[in-house]
């Protein structure tokens, strides 16, 4: 998973003049209904969130800009941003926001929305969540080797090499359980999945 080293100059995206995409209120209302979206309109664009965010340096849009864009109904830009995936849900922004905007919680919901609407910027992000789900749904617990294997990009030689290094290191320390420890009642997992009626969320 070690990709080529990226440089992280703060990227200032010029927001193109396509706000008010007809459905401005629709998207805004949609997002306001999501967990964390209740107080979007309270935002005074102070920028405290952006200033304290530990991963902002790698985002295309700052947290503050995301809120502004939601307000303007810029659905495409918001859901296809890298911001929602780079957010590590550390809650630094939410704990400092003077207007009580639940940004971190909202990012979690927007991740799901981006997957639903098929607007995920970097495929590895949606893959990670899908595979995590698949492993947990199968065993009831996370089995790291299964997840690693699924995520492995067999065409990335450098990545493979360093991942191998990490894997061996972990094995040596007994930190990798090659055998998955299932929960006893794995059958209930699919029953629960069916009941929560979220099939087909690709």
């Amino acid at each position: 998973m070690l990709h080529e080293k990226k440089k992280f100059d703060t990227v200032t995206k010029t927001i193109q003049a396509t706000p008010h995409q007809g459905s401005r209120k629709d998207f805004l209302r949609e997002v306001m209904k999501l967990p964390g979206g209740e107080k979007i309109l309270e935002c005074i664009q102070c920028g405290s969130c952006a200033g304290g965010c530990p991963t902002r340096f790698a985002m295309d849009y700052s947290p503050m800009q995301i809120i502004k864009m939601i307000n303007l109904g810029m659905k495409k830009e918001v859901l296809s941003s890298s911001t929602i995936w780079i957010c590590s849900t550390c809650y630094t922004c939410s704990s400092r926001c003077p207007r009580d905007v639940g940004f971190a919680t909202l990012m979690m919901a927007l991740k799901n929305k981006a997957i639903q609407e098929n607007m995920v910027k970097n495929p590895i992000n949606s893959k990670f969540h899908r595979y995590f789900f698949e492993v947990v749904n199968k065993y009831g617990k996370l089995h790291e080797p299964s997840l690693f294997l699924k995520l492995l990009d067999k065409t990335d030689i450098n990545g493979l090499r360093s991942n191998l290094g990490l894997g061996l290191r972990l094995l040596k320390k007994g930190k990798l359980e090659m055998r998955a420890k299932k929960i006893e009642q794995t059958s209930i997992l699919s029953a629960m999945l069916e009941k929560t009626d979220e099939r087909g969320t690709s």
Binding site: P54, S88, M108, A109, N122, E177, I183, Q185, K195
Partner: protein
Amino acid sequence: MKYAFYPGCSSQSTAKEYENSVKAISEVLDIELVEVPGWNCCGAIDAVYSFKPLYSIALAARNLAIAEKMQMDLTTPCSACYFTLSKTNSILKEDSEKKTKVNEALQTAGLSYNGGVKVRHFADVIFSDIGLQKIKEKVKAPLTALKVASYYGCFLVRPSSICSFDNPEHPTHLDDLAETLGASPVDYYGKTRCCGASLGFTDEDIMLKMSKEILLSAKNAGADCMATACPLCHFNLDARQKDIESHFNIRIDLPVLHFTQLMGLAFGIEPKQLGLNRNCVSPNNISPLAVARASNKT
């Protein structure tokens, strides 16, 4: 003191030594931990949620439903699980529609959840229920001259509405604990800064940078070692330290212990029993003075 114990998935693999040390010191402190029978993955913050939100809440709720029958507070040593389970409580409390739907799903497993389980981080159990006084009494081999940079990370202290163990900007509880063990707590920038969490899987460069900053900050403040309270933070700071070093072409050499391992050392428990051989960055590099005293268990 008896608690329902939720180990978290990492305890089975990458953080086995964490659970070992938790169990070891619990014995010394007369804490009875009853593992939640048949527990499953909590959903890991947004790991499952991003893909299947309602299913994710149901997964977490299943653990709570089982624990509810045990009629005890539930404790977990993993900050991510602590947050996920606490947030689940909060979601089900505020959204009656979700509560109904989740209970419908739980019903297929013959369970239901009413919202009555209090979720506590294990550090909170130590600090609030056991108390520093009692801990001091159990210290046999004080960690004198050991400079410890306690790392709180995110969910031990944020968001305050759900995770309120300590002050979100200037927490002190783990430092006070380190002091009680005889060590010298080190103040440094980054003790509540995010380690990068699961970005290590998808956007590794970012996670490595974030953890690097924390490690260097602690090291530059003179720390001999760090103490963590979350297996994922520990993994990023310890197991990935070598990757950080090679990625940025630097040396760090800062051992990272689980805070319970530190406690165990101070209590005079065998390092092996605390799983110290599993820590990737060898704790043997800690100031010989401290290690000598620590291994001099009476």
